[in-house]
């Protein structure tokens, strides 16, 4: 049976992991390669690297990092952050990334999705969508949730699917950082109205939140950062709990 995926997300700045990480057995928790290797051994199903660098050399630094991760890690990984062209994607895939995730650049130029899918295939193009509720409506936001657009979450998600994206990474800005659980109502609508996999993001605080996002939110995968980085949740233990709740996982 296809299992539900657990995905730790690593924020990267200038080739280093950003958020403080509580991995006592690591020599260098700021080293994304070492951290990625530790997560893959701990049972993560996939990894996401989100680059938040703003320097001129960011493309080169990120490409070099991807190559080092690919050399070491034997599970799939996705790279996102500031990707806006076919050339950006080409370099990352050539260096060993399995998928790339695009966000603002797709909103600004939706044709980019078609172009990337045409060149590289649906299977490696993830579209990340950040949204929050304004007057009861889910509105797509840019720049980490700071800038609202005119797009409705569900309309945009359907367009993204129609343009050929392989999956959607949906982050609820209302839930992100709250540790109060995922946006399961919106997630379940996405999952029912679309026919591509949906990754839930934003709000993970405890094991029950993951159970809920798979059962109520009907998510195909769940992404989190700090609960894993600070070892508030151990992936093996999380997966055992999911299995006890009859949710298929890879143990």
């Amino acid at each position: 049976m296809l299992t539900k995926r657990i995905i730790p997300c690593l924020d990267i700045k200038n080739g280093r992991t950003v958020k403080g990480v509580n991995f006592v057995d690591l020599r260098d928790a700021g080293d994304p390669v070492e951290l990625a290797d530790a997560y893959s051994k701990a049972g993560a199903d996939e990894l996401v690297f989100l680059d938040i660098s703003a320097t001129e050399e960011r493309r080169k630094t990120l490409a070099a990092l991807v190559l080092k991760v690919a050399e070491k890690v034997n599970i799939p990984f996705t790279v996102g952050g500031g990707i806006s062209s076919i050339e950006d994607v080409d370099v990352l895939l050539q260096n060993g990334a399995d998928k790339v995730s695009i966000n603002s650049s797709a909103v600004k130029n939706p044709q980019l999705i078609n172009d990337l899918v045409g060149k590289f295939g649906s299977q490696c193009i993830t579209v990340a969508i950040d949204a929050k509720q304004i007057d009861g409506k889910w509105i797509v936001h840019l720049v980490g949730g700071k800038v609202p657009t005119e797009l409705d979450l569900f309309d945009w998600a359907k367009e993204v699917e129609k343009r050929g994206a392989g999956e959607i990474l949906f982050t609820s800005m209302d839930h992100d950082g709250t540790k109060d659980g995922f946006a399961n109502e919106a997630l379940s609508i996405l999952s029912e109205e679309l026919n591509i996999p949906i990754i839930a993001s934003g709000g993970a605080g405890n094991v029950q939140h993951f159970v809920d996002t798979f059962k109520k939110g009907k998510a195909d995968a769940a992404l989190a950062a700090s609960v894993f980085h600070f070892k508030e949740i151990e992936i093996k233990n999380l997966k055992k709990n999911l299995q006890d709740n009859k949710i298929p996982v890879r143990l």
Binding site: M1, T3, D98, F120, Q123
Partner: protein, 193 residues
């Protein structure tokens, strides 16, 4: 041992090269027919769209070379699909090694299938030491139905072939290079054939 990964411009071959490196071997990337013919083991990768990948094979003449190879050949993902008679994707004629046609998942399930699923009915030396129902990583929208060459099966809405074998030709729909320790073991089994 000389290992060649066929490099015809279709996708992520770096990961396969690294996976082989982690097993303690070196692989070279090549599209040179002489170099491919001289290899002990050949890996035929592929991600992306079938018709454009097949075009690239034809342009380099590799479409005629590959079916004639006599050493062990492992097709991975789209590589495996192109070794079949035909694929619905882009209405593409394949290399005709495996006598089966590749079709698209219907919309009863989410397409593409992305993630870790299980393999069963294992019937190839590729799976020596691998238990039934181990998890492997898949990402695909098209599949090869079960046929006489099927050596591993997986359920996703229907039951289909996740590995095929005929004579010296092997194919896996899953990515051994991304399937953690299970995948590494399968890759190692191939290199030891």
């Amino acid at each position: 041992m000389k290992i060649v990964i066929i490099n015809y411009g279709a996708g992520n071959i770096q990961s396969i090269k690294f996976a082989i490196q982690r097993l303690g071997y070196e692989a070279i990337l090549s599209n040179d027919p002489e170099e491919i013919k001289a290899a002990d083991k050949i890996i035929f990768p592929g991600v992306g769209e079938a018709s454009s990948a097949m075009h690239k094979l034809r342009d380099s003449g590799l479409d005629r070379l590959i079916p004639k190879l006599e050493q062990p050949v492992l097709g991975i993902c789209l590589g495996m699909q192109l070794m079949c008679n035909y694929t619905e994707e882009g209405n593409t004629e394949g290399l005709g090694i495996f006598d089966v046609s590749v079709v698209r998942f219907d919309n009863q399930v989410k397409v593409p299938q992305i993630g870790w699923n299980q393999i069963e009915s294992l019937a190839s030396p590729l799976f020596d030491g691998i238990l039934e129902n181990e998890h492997i990583y898949l990402v695909h929208s098209y599949y090869a139905p079960v046929t006489k060459d099927t050596v591993a099966k997986t359920h996703y809405g229907i039951t289909y072939s996740t590995a095929l074998q005929k004579d010296n030709f092997y194919g896996t729909q899953f990515h051994p290079e991304k399937s953690s320790v299970v995948g590494e073991k399968i890759l190692k089994n191939f290199l030891k054939l």
